[in-house]
C-alpha cells in the first residue's frame, strides 16, 4: 500500500487537491482509502465519501492533533489495509507549524496556497521543509509575479522537493500529482518507521485541562519567553 501524508496550512486546498487526484487514481483502477485527522470538527469526510471510497475521521480534541496522529498511524494503516486500499491518503490538520507529520518511506505532500503571503513559507517550518512534494494552490487568483516570487520562497525552504502548481477548483495539476504517487514505492508497513522531525513535547498542566492563568497553575514541561531576545 502506498502511504500518502498530506499536510498544509489551514484552508490551503488539501482536500480539493486530493479529491481531484484520487479521481485520477480511481480511473486507473486503484483502490483508495482516505483518513482525516483534525482537532474539533471537519466536514472533509463528506467530500471524500462522495468519491465512493472508504473514509475515516480522527478528532484529537484536547490533544495536539499531530501527536494524536503519530500515536494512531498503525491503527490507520490497519484500517486501510482492511479496506483493501492500494493508496492511503492521510490528510492532517497541521496547525501548530512546529510539528511535521512526514514519516520516512511515506510520500509526504505539503499543500500551501499563494494567498498566505511571501513570508509564510519561512514560517511554516518542517511541515514544508521535510515534504517530498510541495503543492502550491490558488495561483489562479494572484498575479504571475506573485506566483514566481512565492514559488522561489518555497524553493528556498525546501530545495529538494518537487513543486507542483495546482488549481484546486479545476483540478489542473492532478495528473502530475497522481504520477508522483504512482512513482513512490509502496510501504511495507508503518511500524518501526521514523518521523522525519521529532515533535516537540506537549505535556504541561494546560494539556491536561488546566484553564487558570498563573505560575502556580503550571506544571510539567513549561517554556518561558526570553525577553532578552531582540535587544
Amino acid at each position: 500500500m502506498r502511504f500518502v501524508i498530506v499536510a498544509g496550512t489551514p484552508s490551503s486546498g488539501k482536500t480539493s487537491v486530493m479529491v481531484h487526484t484520487i479521481r485520477h487514481l480511481l480511473r486507473s483502477n486503484l483502490a483508495v482509502a482516505a483518513c482525516k485527522i483534525d482537532c474539533l470538527q471537519t466536514s472533509d469526510d463528506a467530500r471524500y465519501s462522495r468519491l465512493g471510497i472508504p473514509v475515516a475521521v480522527g478528532l484529537s480534541d484536547y490533544i495536539c492533533p499531530d501527536h494524536f496522529y503519530v500515536a494512531n498511524l498503525e491503527e490507520i494503516e490497519t484500517w486501510a489495509q482492511g479496506q483493501k486500499a492500494d493508496v492511503l491518503v492521510l490528510e492532517t490538520a497541521g496547525l501548530c507549524h512546529r510539528c511535521a507529520p512526514a514519516v520516512y518511506d511515506c510520500l509526504s505532500v505539503c499543500v500551501i496556497d499563494n494567498l498566505v503571503g511571501v513570508d509564510t513559507p519561512r514560517k511554516v517550518g518542517p511541515m514544508l521543509s521535510s515534504a517530498d512534494i510541495v503543492v502550491i494552490t490558488k495561483g489562479d487568483i494572484v498575479s504571475q509575479a506573485e506566483r514566481e516570487v512565492f514559488r522561489y520562497k518555497v524553493e528556498m525552504e525546501n530545495p529538494q522537493a518537487r513543486i507542483l502548481d495546482f488549481n484546486g477548483l479545476t483540478g489542473q495539476g492532478a495528473l502530475a500529482l497522481k504520477n508522483e504517487i504512482l512513482n513512490c514505492r509502496p510501504l511495507e508497513g508503518i511500524s518501526g518507521r521514523e518521523l522525519r522531525n521529532p515533535m516537540p513535547a506537549a505535556s504541561c498542566s494546560y494539556c491536561a485541562g488546566e484553564t487558570i492563568i498563573g505560575k502556580s497553575h503550571q506544571m510539567g514541561i513549561i517554556k518561558k519567553v526570553d525577553f532578552g531576545r531582540g535587544n
Binding site: V118, D140, I141, V142, A145, E146, V149, T170, L175, A176
Partner: protein
Amino acid sequence: MLDKITILGGLDKNGMPEKVQRLEIAAGEVLAAVGPTGSGKTQLISDIEQYAEEETLTGRSVLINNQPVNKNKDKRSLRYLIAQVSQNMNFVIDMSIEEFLLMHAQVRGIREPARTIEEVLAITNHLSGEPVTFSTNLTQLSGGQSRALMVADVAIISNAPVVLIDEIENAGIDRLQALEILTGQGKIVLVVSHDPTLMLMAGQRVVMKNGGMEKICRTTPKERKILEDLVRVEKQVAGLREHLRRGKSIGLDDNREEDNEKERLVLWQKF
C-alpha cells in the same frame, strides 16, 4: 529560443475528433481564442500551460519548436516559459510597488533592477489611465492599474516567451498598447476574449465549440479596416469619458436640442 508552439488536436466534449487538428502560433504572433462561454477556451489555455501530452481531458498535445515536451527532463527550461494574466488575478501582497518589483527582479536574477523597475512603472502608467507611483501599495491598485502592472511586469521582469491572456477586456487598460508591447518583444500571445476589438487585433483566431477547436480564421484585410474604425471609436469614447469626468458638458452653450442619432454621434466625437 522559442520560435513556435503547436497544438495537435484531440477530442471535443462528445469524444469526437476536433475539426482543427493542428494549430500553430509563431513568435511575435497573437492568436485569439473565441467562442461562447463553456466552449472550451479556458481548457485550451490550461492544455498549453500543462504542456499536454494527450493525458488531459481533451487528449491534445503541445509541441515546442516542433518537438514534443519532455516534462521531466526539461523541467528547468520549461520553468519560466509561460506567463499568464487574467481578469481574476489580483495582487494580494501588502507591499509597495517598488519593494515588490525589486523582490521579483531579484528572484528572476535581473542585472539592473533599479533601471528595470523604472521601465515597468513607465509601461504601467502608459497602459493605465490613472498613474501610480513606486510608493503606491499593491493592494490599493484599481482593477485597471493592477492589470496594467501585471502586463508590464510580465513583459519586462517575467519576460516569458509565451503569454496567455484570459479576458482582460473589462480591465480599463489600453489593450492595443498592451498587445503591442508583448508581441513587440517577439512573444507568442494567446488571448481569450469576447471583445471584437481584441479578436481582430490577433492575426488569427481559433473558434471553439463544444470543447473542441472548430475552425481557424485569419484576420482579413477588411477586418483590419474595421479594427481601425473600432480603435478610433474606442479612443473617442475614452476622450468622452475624460471630458465628462472632468466636469465638462456638451451642448450647454448653444442650447440646441439634438434628436437625430447620427448628429449626436458626430457631436460628441468632436470633443
